[in-house]
Symmetry: C2
């Protein structure tokens, strides 16, 4: 089993590589090659030898090299985040759309080759107004350039699959919470910041109202989605290859309540409320609740509660240390 | 009022140019310039002087030239048809996707410029399985490369509109029936052939079962949609810029009944039933019925009956001659 991960220096790509290296196998088959590619040099995970490939997927020719050794499974997580795709129009289309298309085209050019192709799409592929719960038949009418690029790649994924060039599965990731590490340019970053920073005694800014509702999944759940997408029985999917993922629908105030229960009032006091109209406007167009029954029926599993998300974050990212207070 | 029509040698583009030349105005403003562009040299319509531009929109640089004179309204009808986009994968993406994107990019590069941009999308942007009636919130999950390309351009149109580069309206045309002229490579061609050819005493092949249902609009109605899209009050549209058009839901047998009423049994006997599995399979994934209430509320109007479609065809294409029998 040969595996390629694009965007392997990103949070999802890195955690996926660590999980695969720890497991040593995928879908019952030993992992014999793991290639990690990213424009930023990815770190090698512990456990199995990995090939590190420091390259820009959006440069013509690079993708052909990446797939030359015919990986059985490709996890395509490369891309720039929502805030950057909104502020840099050209870069967003170049990386998120053209980069993905170059990869798909490179695969198509390899004779007699049809890898499982798992693409990290996003709930940003949807745009308001919404029904009470978004199902897999709801239109992808995004309200950001990032969401537009994701929805376009979903369409390519379905067409390349129908043509027999790939065996594609697109998974629309919820907002990932708690995103570890430093704040990045994702406009959704504050959903994580307001939990992650107070857990280590740091202040965090909440730029929207506490009543804002969003659809969340933990990094641990997201990696589980990717593994499930790579190993599920493909005949169950039919022609609709892009799936809403299960998650937790929660308001910011509900997130903060969970933080209070796990880490106490002192942690909550570190959240500074300071409305940012630009972020509030973007978030206003984001989905709040889903009917993910299709994905649940296919074996995808989400977190049980925000308390569980916070406790798993403490285990996974803070070496199980109780929060500093 | 300056107007550009891409794909002006195509059936829709040509009829639109004729209508505009006949009217002399659009939305209450005199037409001062009409530019017709196509890879096949378009014919000049009677009525007003037109600039003929014989060019391939998918060649980099051409689109910039086309928009250099800042047309107020751009009707983007250029593209290759469904059958050809399916048989020539590269050409379909090059013309239908890249050509459209080059045009949008060229517009974006013109400073302080935001034309009304009317795009002829298609109900092929949808794919089975369907609800009883497809509304404007149903997912665009096409089952052809042509439909994929149309759905991708719809996404671009919405994002370029949101960014303020264009004032876009995408209209998802029904199957156009009765399409005049010779059969082309559109897989939907037979819906027209079985009416048009018998009306002039010629045989036509019906490659699917008579129970096949489709969503139809006449060329006359389609041109009306384009005019309406170019002139409607844009604030009524909101962020969802791509619209299902009204039409007639009819089975092939219902089409044939209408032909019988207008042209008699002798015309019907010219239809030769000969199932083509490849066409039957493509058509099987096409939409059959729509809820076009949104477009109806915006003033778009369809044909009243298939009898009217046939009678208007006789007026528009056969100089009002009664059918030969």
């Amino acid at each position: 089993m040969r595996i390629l991960i694009t965007g392997a220096a990103g949070m999802i790509g890195r955690k996926l590589a660590e999980r695969l290296a720890r497991d040593g196998h995928l879908g019952g088959k030993d992992i014999t090659a793991l290639t990690l590619t990213d424009i930023i040099a990815p770190a090698a995970p512990k456990g199995i030898p990995a090939t590190i490939d420091n390259a820009d997927i959006a440069v013509p020719g690079e993708a052909a090299r990446m797939v030359a050794e015919r990986p059985d499974v490709i996890f395509h997580t490369a891309g720039i985040v929502s805030g950057e795709a909104e502020s840099d129009f050209d870069k967003g289309y170049r990386v998120n759309l053209d980069g993905s298309r170059l990869l798909l085209e490179a695969i198509r050019q390899v004779p007699d080759y049809r890898p499982r192709f798992v693409f990290t799409s996003s709930i940003a592929a949807f745009g308001a107004p919404y029904p009470d719960a978004i199902d897999d038949e709801f239109i992808t009418a995004p309200l950001t350039s990032y969401g537009t690029q994701k929805a376009m790649v979903e369409l390519l994924l379905a067409d390349y699959t129908r043509r027999g060039f790939i065996d594609g599965v697109g998974i629309r990731l919820p907002t990932i919470c708690i995103r570890p590490g430093k704040p990045n340019r994702a406009a959704s970053g504050f959903f994580s910041n307001i939990l992650r920073e107070p857990l280590v005694g740091q202040e965090a800014v909440l730029p929207v109202d506490g009543s804002v509702r969003a659809w969340h999944a933990s990094p641990r759940a997201a990696i589980g989605f990717l593994i499930q997408a790579a190993t599920l029985d493909i005949v169950l999917l039919g022609t609709r290859r892009n799936l809403n993922m299960p998650g937790l629908s929660a308001t910011v105030d509900e997130q903060i309540d969970a933080l209070r229960q796990v880490a106490g009032e002192a942690a909550v006091r570190l959240i500074r409320r300071e409305i940012d109209p630009a972020i509030a406007r973007m978030v206003d167009g984001w989905p709040r609740n889903f009917d993910a029954s299709r994905a649940l029926g296919l074996g995808f599993r989400a977190d049980a509660s925000f308390g569980e998300i916070i406790r798993n974050h403490i285990v996974d990212e803070l070496e199980g240390r109780p929060p500093s207070q």
